[in-house]
């Protein structure tokens, strides 16, 4: 029996004037998945996230969280959602703890013990009683995350969460989100225009361009490309001997050589053929590796490399 999706978006559309900012977007996200919204700036990611939390009213279409419509049942639906939209802006004149208490008062059943728990979870114990205006961006990000986790949400929505974080901070956030999804079954939705980020963080990625859903990719399948061609790396004992074999067998193929590693582009069926030829010619093959084509290449291929239009 398939579980009901945590997040269900159906025909979500936002029109401003005659221009569709988000155009007939539909997808479902199950529990425990880290789901990415990927697209160039202005593609409609932030608008989509804002519609998911009721900051922007949809022109048509629906967003359901645990089966609850976020417009019709805002209070009940939002009880299951924690969100940071763009930057985690907090009240600078209040301390971190006062900020968390402020947001805790706004929903049901968040105790002082729970506040303590999330503060520990995000590792902010040392500075939680300081005023937020003295916080660095990384600390604000942690406080924002603590705020989003307060009411034990089933769905965590993060809009451009890595904005302004240093590489260590990005890595920490990524690991933390993955852990939450795996250990607590949290559904995480992140948006980003950073492709490499999404590759490392997400289970699935929806590619959006000009408000339209271009494709949804499962990250594990990303290596197998549409036309079945992949880049292969060979680890051999004698590169020049191997090169000669390849040149004889596959005419006109381009081989990049780096010490004893050869990189060439082949169709899937050609790979065993190549290995057999090399072994038959007495070359020692220590390893054959299909190189992943990065999402970036695919993303650029799919969206035609355009940025904003």
């Amino acid at each position: 029996m398939a579980l009901a999706p945590r997040v269900e978006i159906a025909h979500l559309t936002k029109r401003i004037g005659s221009k569709a900012i988000v155009d007939d977007l539909s997808f479902q996200i199950p529990a425990g998945e880290v789901f990415g919204l990927l697209g160039p700036n202005g593609a409609g990611k932030t608008t989509t996230i804002r519609m998911m939390v009721g900051l922007i009213a949809a022109s048509s279409g629906t967003v359901e969280i645990n089966g609850l419509d976020v417009v019709k049942h805002f209070e009940q639906a939002m009880q299951h959602v924690g969100a940071i939209v763009e930057n985690p802006e907090m009240y600078g004149f209040l301390s971190g703890r006062q900020n968390l208490r402020h947001f805790a008062r706004m929903c049901q059943g968040v105790t002082e013990a729970r506040i303590e728990e999330v503060v520990q979870q995000v590792g902010l114990e040392a500075r939680i009683n300081d005023r937020v205006k003295t916080y660095s961006l990384g600390m604000r990000q942690r406080l924002g995350l603590a705020q989003a986790l307060l009411r034990r949400p089933d769905v965590l929505l993060l809009d451009e969460p890595t904005n302004g974080l240093d590489p260590a901070g990005i890595r920490e956030l990524r690991d933390y989100l993955r852990r939450l999804a795996q250990s607590e079954g949290l559904t995480v939705v992140v948006s980003s225009h950073l492709l490499s980020e999404m590759e490392l963080m997400c289970d699935r990625v929806a590619i959006i361009q000009s408000g339209k859903l271009v494709d949804i990719q499962t990250m594990g399948e990303i290596a197998a490309t549409a036309d079945g061609v992949s880049e292969v790396s060979l680890d051999v004992d004698d590169a020049s001997a191997a090169n000669a074999v390849i040149a004889a067998r596959f005419e006109g193929i381009e081989v990049k050589t780096r010490e004893n590693e050869l990189v060439l582009t082949l169709s899937r069926e050609q790979i065993p053929e190549l290995v057999a030829a090399l072994v038959g010619a007495g070359a020692k093959v220590y390893g054959v590796r299909a190189l992943k084509r990065s999402l970036e290449d695919q993303f650029l291929a799919m969206t035609g490399g355009r940025s904003v239009d």
Binding site: T46, T47, R50, V53, G54, L55, I56, A57, F74, E75, M78, Q79, V81, A83, V85, E86, N87, P88, E89, M90, Y91, G92, F93, L94, Q98, H102, F103, R105, M106, C107, Q108, G144, Q147, R151
Partner: protein, 313 residues
């Protein structure tokens, strides 16, 4: 709902700005006390002083050509009041805590400006800092958030009025002594006759009518705050409207349509002291006008706040 109200109040009173405004108000009361003290005539000499005043007022009233109507009215009332004091042997220059408090009640303009600062900021500042996104992505509906903000604004208005009242009496008592609670206050009523009222009753009336004016004026600032989403703009426009509105009504008082302007109606004291500013206006009319404006302003604030998309800030 009560939790939201606690939040909004904390966001007002945990900011040092609020306490600075109140401190300024108390300093202003102190300054009024100091000025009053240094301008008091010598004890016992009030009668000849008052007689001189009456004479100069009569001279002034004989040459009123070119003077604005309101000024002439003021001179006339002063004359009536001075004559009344002479006749009933009341020393108008003697100051005590209560009388001082009535004088210091003129600082209500300053108190109102401070209330408008908070009222004009309470919604706009959430947009300016971006915290509006955090605020609206919790479980509370927009209507409840707006209502809690509005109630917090009115509570701040009430608190500021109390600061003015309590510190006026306290500073008055410290400087001039606490006696005189039973003394009468003389004033010219709506029909141009001099009347007396207990000073405490007079104070309560003044403050009561101020609260009415405060609610309506704070609502203007609150509405501007939701419309403009900019603290500086809404505070400036609200204070300017408050200051210019009253003057404008004064300047245009010969036109009868002016009575439909909100500011012709906000000061209900006019029906008890001095008489209505525009002929033909009644207490009932002013109350109706205020309620009408009040409903429109709150309705507009609500509609805009609930319907507007919170997009890129």
């Amino acid at each position: 709902m009560i939790n939201l109200l606690i939040n909004e109040n904390l966001k007002i009173y945990l900011r040092s700005r609020t306490w600075i405004l109140w401190a300024l108000l108390v300093v202003a009361i102190g300054l009024v006390a100091w000025t009053t003290l240094s301008s008091q005539p010598h004890v016992g000499a009030w009668r000849p002083q008052l007689i001189t005043n009456v004479q100069s007022l009569q001279t002034a009233l004989a040459h009123t050509k070119g003077l604005p109507r309101a000024s002439v009215q003021q001179l006339r009332e002063q004359l009536l009041s001075d004559r009344y004091d002479l006749k009933h042997n009341l020393d108008p220059f003697r100051t005590d805590a209560w009388k001082f408090a009535s004088t210091a009640a003129n600082l209500d303009v300053l108190a109102m400006a401070f209330i408008l600062v908070i009222a004009g900021d309470i919604v706009a500042s959430e947009y300016a800092t971006g915290t509006i996104k955090m605020l609206l992505t919790q479980t509370a509906t927009r209507t409840r958030i707006l209502v809690s903000k509005y109630l917090a604004t009115l509570l701040f208005g009430l608190a500021t009025t109390l600061v003015l009242g309590v510190f006026s009496i306290a500073i008055g008592a410290a400087v001039f002594g606490a006696q005189g609670a039973g003394a009468p206050t003389t004033y010219v009523n709506a029909t141009g006759h001099v009347e007396q009222m207990g000073v405490i009753a007079y104070l309560l009336m003044t403050y009561g009518f101020f609260l009415v004016e405060m609610i309506v004026t704070a609502t203007i600032a609150f509405m501007l705050s939701t419309i403009f989403r900019s603290s500086a703009l809404s505070i400036t426009v609200a204070i300017l409207t408050f200051l210019v509105g009253s003057t404008l009504v004064e300047a245009l008082s010969r036109f009868s349509w002016v009575k439909y302007i909100l500011f012709a109606n906000t000061n209900l004291t006019q029906y008890f002291v001095g008489g209505p500013r525009i002929a033909g206006m009644t207490l009932g009319f002013s109350i109706e006008m205020m309620i009408a404006y009040f409903i429109v302003m709150l309705g507009l604030s609500w509609w805009i706040f609930v319907k507007r998309d919170v997009s890129y800030s």
